[in-house]
Every structure is written in C-alpha cells, then in structure tokens.
Subunit: 302 residues, 2 copies
C-alpha cells in the first residue's frame, strides 16, 4: 500500500512470457525506488482519476481482479480475505456485543461484508470519502463489494474525519480501513482523529485500524503507534501476512475505550466467531497469535 508516484505501467519486455492475443501489461508497485512487486495483467478494466486519487482496476492471472489507488495495490480477489478478516474479526470478536459498527474508508466493501457476518451487528455505517471507489468496486469487484446493498448498511460518501467528529458514543466498534497516511488519509492517523474516534465510541468500544507495514513503512508505523498510545493507553498491534502488500507483512492497531476491556497485552477474543462463519485466515488461535510481535517489530513501535 505504499504510495508511489512513479509511472507504474511497463510494456511487456521481450524476455517476459508471452500473453494472450492482444498482449498484456506488467504492473509494478515499487515499495521503494529499488524494489517492488510485479504482476501481469491480462486486461485493464478501468483507469481514471477521481477527485481524490488515481484509480486502476486490473484483471490479473495470479491475484484475480486488483484495485490500485495512486499506484499502490489496495486489494485483490485472491488475497483480500487476509486483510479484511483480520481488520474486522479481531475487533469484532474482541467486543462482547458489537451492534453498531463504523467503517471509515474501506470503499471496496470488504470490511462491510465481514462485519455483516456477525449476527450481533445491527447496523454498519460505511464512510468513504471517494464515491468513485465505491461505484467502481460495486461494478468490478462484486465478490468484495457485494454486501454494500444489504439493508443493515448505511453508506455515507463523506470525509471520515468530519463524520467522526459529529458523532458521540454512537458505535461499539470503529474500523479505519484507509490508504497510506498521505493526502486525504493523513488526518486519519493523527491524534485529533483518534481523540474524536474515542469520543464516538460507546463505553467499552473497540477501535481498529491498519497501521502500515513494518518492512517498508517502519517510520509510518512507529508514528501511528506512538500517536495512538497517547489517546488510547490500551492500544496493541497485531500482524497478518498479506502477499500483495509491501514486505508481505502488515500491521493493525487494536485499542479500547477502556474501562471494561482487558489490558492491551492480553487482547484475546471475547467470544468465538459466530457459528457457521467460515473464514480462510482468521481463527481464535490466529487472533491471539497475531499479537505476538517479532522483536524487530517490537522495536519499531517502542
């Protein structure tokens, strides 16, 4: 998810494998000026600019359909389950009775889909700043965005910062599924937003957000970790393996409004996943294990 302003379409070079008639392109996301992930796309489904960002949708062989914002892979049909299950089921299972869920960002609908799998959830509010992302994901990524039409979903095309400031004690769980903390996503990782989010949580509420990767975004991860702890003393980080994200390792923060929740170090599921919910990554054991951080990650967030 590293933002990258480098031109990211490469023509198929002669030493690369031949594609179907009509050719193919190789999309490369540079995680730094000196390395990246390269993926062959059979087809460009969409390319354009919204008011906020450059949006590309590709049909790839290895990862299925892929959403790219400002040159950074956001989600792919093949590996989205890791990110969406881990950013949603960890906070939802950490909360004993999550009824009202707010998702900030997450215009692809993946978080909404996972949240709706919990029968306790009565209402999911999705606040996405970029309506074009929602429209395009509904059209091109129905497997991910397919739950956006559910009657329990309230969809607001609006600035998440403003939305959160206007709500108090309104949500049991807030999940921030944002792009990298630059441009419009930058305020979502700053103290004023965390404070507003804490206010917007009901007592006993749980907050979760993506907190960048420890391999290529260590500085950003450290900044988020230090900022969130100032507002939520009870914050902890957890990890998941996302193949298409820089370094293959991604971090999340989990925090609680405090009072009724256990200390950060012992974050564990309050309840199992609802019966009949089949996951592909999340399990109660993974929930606990994800908070065990490699020493180099502990040092980043110290």
């Amino acid at each position: 998810m590293a933002l990258n302003k480098r031109p990211f379409f490469q023509p198929a070079a002669s030493n690369q494998p031949a594609g179907p008639p009509g050719g193919h392109i190789w999309f490369t996301e540079y995680h730094s000026p000196a390395s990246g992930i390269t993926v062959r796309a059979e087809k460009t489904l969409f390319t354009g600019k919204s008011a906020f960002q450059e949006i590309v949708l590709l049909e790839t062989e290895d990862y299925g359909r892929m959403l790219v914002l400002d040159g950074a892979i956001q989600t792919t049909e093949r590996d989205e389950f890791v990110y969406h299950e881990m950013i949603v089921h960890v906070p939802l299972c950490a909360h004993p009775r999550p009824r009202r869920v707010l998702i900030v960002g997450g215009g692809d609908g993946g978080c909404v889909r996972e949240a709706l799998r919990h029968p306790e959830v009565e209402r999911v509010t999705l606040v996405e700043i970029d309506g074009m992302v929602v429209e395009l994901c509904r059209k091109f990524l129905p497997k991910i965005a397919g739950s956006l039409g559910d009657p329990r979903v309230e969809l607001c095309i609006e600035d998440g910062v403003r939305f959160v400031k206007n709500h108090t004690r309104a949500f049991d769980v807030i999940i921030v599924d944002s792009t990298d903390p630059v441009n419009m996503a930058s305020p979502l990782t700053r103290a004023p937003f965390f404070r507003a989010a804490k206010e917007a949580l009901a007592p006993g509420g749980v907050y979760a957000c993506q907190s960048q990767g420890p391999v290529f975004e260590a500085r950003g991860m450290r900044r988020i970790a230090r900022t969130i702890r100032k507002v939520f003393p009870d914050a902890a980080h957890y990890l998941a393996s996302v193949p298409t994200y820089p370094g293959g390792m991604w971090s999340f923060a989990l925090a609680s409004k405090g009072g009724k929740r256990p200390a950060a170090a012992s974050f564990a599921p309050s309840r199992p996943l609802p019966r009949g919910v089949k996951t592909r990554y999340y399990t109660p054991e993974i929930h606990r294990a994800a908070f065990a951080l490699p020493r180099f990650v502990q040092e980043i967030i110290r």
Copy 2:
C-alpha cells in the same frame, strides 16, 4: 525460493529510476509466470555455474547482498535473520539439551551461526552438497557465513542423503535448510530421507526443515506435510514472514522422534533462549504463535 528457468536479468527500462554511474540491473524472481518480486542491483558480485546450480550474488540497495540459486532468492543480508532464526531456534529451543546439531544444506552458514549461539551446542555438522556455495558465501556474505570457521563446526561437502544414511542416533537436532524440492534437493523431502533422518536422531531428537510457502507452493507444501507425517506422527508446521520469499510467508516443519516430546499441536519452547542472545525475529511468544496456522494453511496440509 521457487525455482525458475526464465531468464532473470532485465536491463533497466527507461521508465525505471535512474541508478548510479555505470548503471544497474533489475533482478526479477518470477513466483509464477504471472508475478514476482523485482529488486534493483547496483552490482553483480558473482555469476557462474557450479556442478549443481547457477549461482548469482548481487549487491542490492534494499536487501543488501543477495544469494540467488537457479533464479530463486535464497538469502539476503536484510531479511535472512527471519528465516535463520526461525529454522534454528524453534527446534533448538524445543529440545531440552541440544548438544549435537546436524545441518543439511544451508551452505550460506546462517543456520550454523544461529545454532552456535546456544552454549549447550558442542558440535555443529554442516553437510552441503555444493562446495562452491560455501566458498562464495564465505567470500561475499561474511555476516552470514562468518561462523563457519568456528572450532565447533565440522564442514562436510557431501550429499546430505548419503551422509544421513550413514549415521545412527548421532544428533539431537537435524535441520534441513534446502533449496526448493527439485533436482538435488528433491530427495530431501521424500519418505526415505525422513526415515533415515529419524534413525540419525538420538532418542528425544528433534527434526526441522523448511517446508515451502503456502501461497505459491501449496502443492509442494502439502506433499511435504503428508510425507513427513507418515514418518514422524508428531510433526507440526509453523510460519514466518520472509519478505523476499514467494508470497512473503514461509513454512517450516518441526517433528520429534517421539517418546519424550509433547504432541505436535502443543509444540512450545522447552527452554528460553540462552541469556544474552539477542534475536531480531524469534521470541518465546513468536515460537508458540508461529504454530497458529491461518485456516487456508490448515487446509493445505490437511
């Protein structure tokens, strides 16, 4: 570590960032015909062929020096600590008193270095089939290979399969740090080798090996898992995040000769890391957590 016969040097394309005077190359390891990791190398330190494989050593900006065998990244200065700590400290800490350690493969010396950090270890035997790998790593990767001259190390340039067959009850821990299971490394993942390794272990002995990645090598991982369980009923798999390996997620198998060791599902450290040993990935919590497998990985090895 996926073997790849595709030509893997690309000239710097015009839309890629400018390098230092003298130019640079982009090395791409294809994890499939349709995706891979691409890394800029400032310098090619060595390129040649041994009796067994094509050997390339690169100086890269993001990953430091990098060893590439038959087109597959084996180890890099920047992320080798993950793989080497996890393939060594898990079996060594699972064993209550590891005195004699055998490493099969691992010609870069990283496993030897980590094993020697345990003061209980009296002797480390490294059996590597390709002497050229050892020589080149001593020359170009001294941070990794620097312990090969330790007086506790016995270095055998020999076929590991034959070596293991010729030893009985000789080792407390056997670690197989092999390339992908093709060509000369293929027999190392077959039942006859696992049976010979079990014989070569002393009572209460522990066996560990890399067991491929679940993202791009699911079939190979399944085959190893099913084969190893036939020989070691007590085998379990664990995971670590290795940024330069396919999919960023790598698996290992841990097995015991049985009798004195706990059941596979509860593999946990028998003892802490020796005092004063500073790791960058491994911790006792990571040891336990690494055995929690995402559901899609559980399904691969079922």
